[in-house]
């Protein structure tokens, strides 16, 4: 039951094959069994059981709230949840209990979803491995899969069983691991430079990044205001479409949400690709791309071509600068956003009482880790009067060039772009930590962040199940239409089976 898709479980609940309480208890016991993954920071057991009970009452009366009623979900720990600790995996917010729910969390709860807990992440969502939070790194469930164990047996013998576990990718690694380990059916992540799609790729689940402005950011503790979006992680594309339908739409509490009406949609069971034009950006054929990912990319392109779609090569000329541009803009906005943490109104506060500046400085030293401090200092450097024009404004200009690249491609008749999500499969933790956070982020976000800067793109990542470790593809389209989901669904139907492929 736990390996089913959201839609299948929802049907089972409606038909009475299983009750929300039973489902909730199964998930809770699986969370306990998979505690070694470290996917959850807080497991909200009492809250979940209470919500499950209420859902059960609704089902008994025949008044279910819809497809999400009674479904266990998890939320990344940088979304505010009323009365449930929200830490952002940082000492700065340990013990912080928000007095309100983030809009997306409230929407899920209003539709009857059952909140299993808050998932682990990189501290303040800065990182691409989910290894830098204060609660420890998240382990990829695939590290314990048959395929990976077999692959490891062929290598060194006498190696400690648990020493070579794989990272989940980041920063929404906990959410991805929670979904991949079957402890919930959907999870919320956040996506600023690939933080939902990267762990989705490494954990073999679907990661969906909505266009900027489609889903409310109210309650999401901000990293980069102009690029952040809440992300959705599920086990299949259809589930992501269901969740998106519940979350999208204007929110008066977030004035950066678009005011156009948004209609929920369902994916067609059969989609015609004859009239579709798919673009393959040639600049994404990086030399560092692993051969397995490259071959999967060709396989998908050939699949579409054989079904009648037009597959052409396109160019996004400023691709090589996008990661640099992202780095400057991200650190600059971070420097500004992290200024709110001074220990006065909420969060950690040190014991020094000599002066406000001394108190702020010591509080921030104790509360933030090296990664966060490094980004704040870099951001402040780029924002210095003498550097503002040459770095920050320059990066904003390059951002426009990158966004224009996408506009030009989509205006030339291309409907969607098909690209890899990451350079290679998930790497073992011991190898990942050989480089620092900034270097890793620059390497791992290379395909994903350009889309965050252009903003107006829907993106999803679809898993390749037959590989030894998960690999993924990216499908990007230009508008707020559900087209990427349809195409992702097509790839899924042909390439992926809906049964769990790791045991």
């Amino acid at each position: 039951m736990l390996g089913r898709t959201l839609r299948e479980v929802s049907t089972a609940l409606k038909q009475g094959h299983i009750t929300p309480t039973e489902l909730c208890q199964k998930c809770l016991s699986l969370i306990k069994k998979t505690k070694f993954l470290n996917a959850y920071i807080t497991v909200s057991e009492e809250v979940a059981l209470k919500q499950a009970e209420e859902s059960e009452k609704r089902y008994k009366k025949g008044h279910s709230l819809g497809d999400l009623d009674g479904i266990p979900v998890a939320v990344k720990d940088n979304f505010s949840t009323s009365s449930i600790e929200t830490t952002c995996a940082s000492n700065m917010l340990k013990g912080y209990v928000p007095p309100y729910n983030a809009t997306v969390v409230q929407k899920l709860l209003d539709k009857g979803a059952v909140l299993m807990g808050k998932t682990n992440l990189d501290e303040f969502a800065m990182g691409s491995g989910s290894t830098d939070g204060v609660f420890g790194p998240v382990k990829n469930p695939w590290s314990y899969s048959k395929q990976y164990r077999e692959k490891r047996k062929q290598k060194a013998h006498g190696e400690n069983e648990d020493s070579n576990w794989l990272i989940t990718g980041g920063s929404s690694g906990g959410s991805a691991a929670a979904v991949a380990a079957f402890t919930c059916f959907a999870a919320l992540g956040s996506d600023t430079g690939g933080s939902t799609r990267n762990p989705a790729a490494h954990c073999g689940v679907v990661g969906f990044k909505p266009s900027y402005g489609l889903v409310s950011r109210h309650g999401l503790i901000p990293l980069v205001n102009s690029m952040d979006v809440p992300g959705i992680l599920t086990r299949c594309v259809d589930d992501a479409a269901i969740v998106l339908g519940m979350l999208a739409g204007h929110d008066p509490k977030d004035s950066t949400t678009i005011q156009d009406p948004v209609k929920p949609f369902t994916l067609p069971t059969f989609a015609d690709v004859n009239k579709l034009c798919i673009g393959i950006p040639k600049e994404y054929l990086a030399p560092e791309l692993s051969s397995e990912v490259r071959s999967f990319w060709s396989k998908a392109a050939n699949l579409f071509e054989s079904e009648g779609a037009k597959v052409i090569e396109v160019s996004l000329p400023h691709t090589s600068y996008s990661i640099v541009c992202y780095h400057v803009l991200c650190t600059s906005e971070v420097a500004s956003n992290m200024a709110r943490f001074d220990g006065l109104e909420y969060g950690h506060r040190c014991d020094i009482n000599v002066s406000t500046e001394a108190m702020y400085a010591a509080t921030r030293r104790e509360g933030f880790n090296d990664v966060v401090r490094g980004r704040i200092l870099s951001g402040n450097f780029f924002l210095l009067k003498e550097n503002y024009e040459n770095y920050f404004i320059k990066a904003q200009k390059v951002r426009r060039l990158i966004a224009n690249d996408f506009v030009n491609v989509f205006n030339s008749g291309v409907d969607v772009l098909l690209t890899p999500t990451t350079l290679s499969e998930a790497v073992p933790y011991l190898e990942f930590i050989k480089e620092d956070n900034r270097t890793r982020s620059a390497q791992d976000d290379i395909f994903t962040q350009a889309v965050n800067m252009a903003g107006e793109n829907l993106t999803s990542a679809i898993p390749e199940p037959h590989a030894k470790e998960p690999e993924q593809l990216h499908v990007t389209s230009f508008s707020y239409l559900p087209m990427t989901n349809e195409l992702a669904g097509i790839i899924e139907t042909f390439v992926v089976t809906k049964r769990p492929y790791w045991t």
Partner: protein
């Protein structure tokens, strides 16, 4: 008035002395080199890969602005690398290109009507603060005297 002033200046002197004591204690505890040589040691050395942009003045300035300290030589090195990485942007021709602040620049932000629809939750909001007196957040004294501001930089305030 004069007694207040002398009391406050005595307090400040006390505080300074206590600060310096604590700084020494921590330096010894962490096995750091003496704090006098500490900042001097942070300037970037001549290195072909580094731009040498992060001088002692820049370090002090950034720490003051950010209220976050570097903490180690590695952190300075990381900033140097970050700057070198960002320098790659110079190769892009951006003549005549307008900076892009937001992808939604061609839309108007939503403005709601100016009516009070929520609030009255002071108690809830005060619960998350460590130090509260009635309905006030309590902060340590700010440094209002210019003499104080000039004398002490963040590193001197560093504990």
């Amino acid at each position: 008035m004069s007694s207040l002033l002398s009391a406050s200046s005595a307090l400040r002197e006390d505080a300074l002395r206590r600060l310096k004591r604590e700084m020494w204690a921590r330096a010894v505890k962490l096995g750091l080199r003496s704090w006098v040589g500490w900042r001097r040691g942070f300037t970037s050395k001549a290195d072909p890969q580094r731009s040498g942009r992060v001088t002692a003045e820049v370090i002090e300035h950034l720490e003051r602005l950010a209220l976050v300290d570097f903490g180690s030589q590695e952190a300075v090195a990381r900033l140097e690398k970050a700057i070198a990485f960002a320098d790659r942007l110079r190769a892009v021709d951006t003549d005549g290109v307008e900076p892009m602040e937001s992808v939604l620049e061609d839309r108007c932000l939503y403005l709601r009507s100016d009516n009070v629809v929520e609030g009255n939750c002071a108690e809830e909001l005060l619960q998350n603060a460590h130090r509260v007196v009635e309905e006030y957040f309590v902060a340590p004294p700010g440094m209002c005297s210019p003499k104080w501001l000039n004398r002490l930089s963040l590193s001197e305030l560093r504990i």
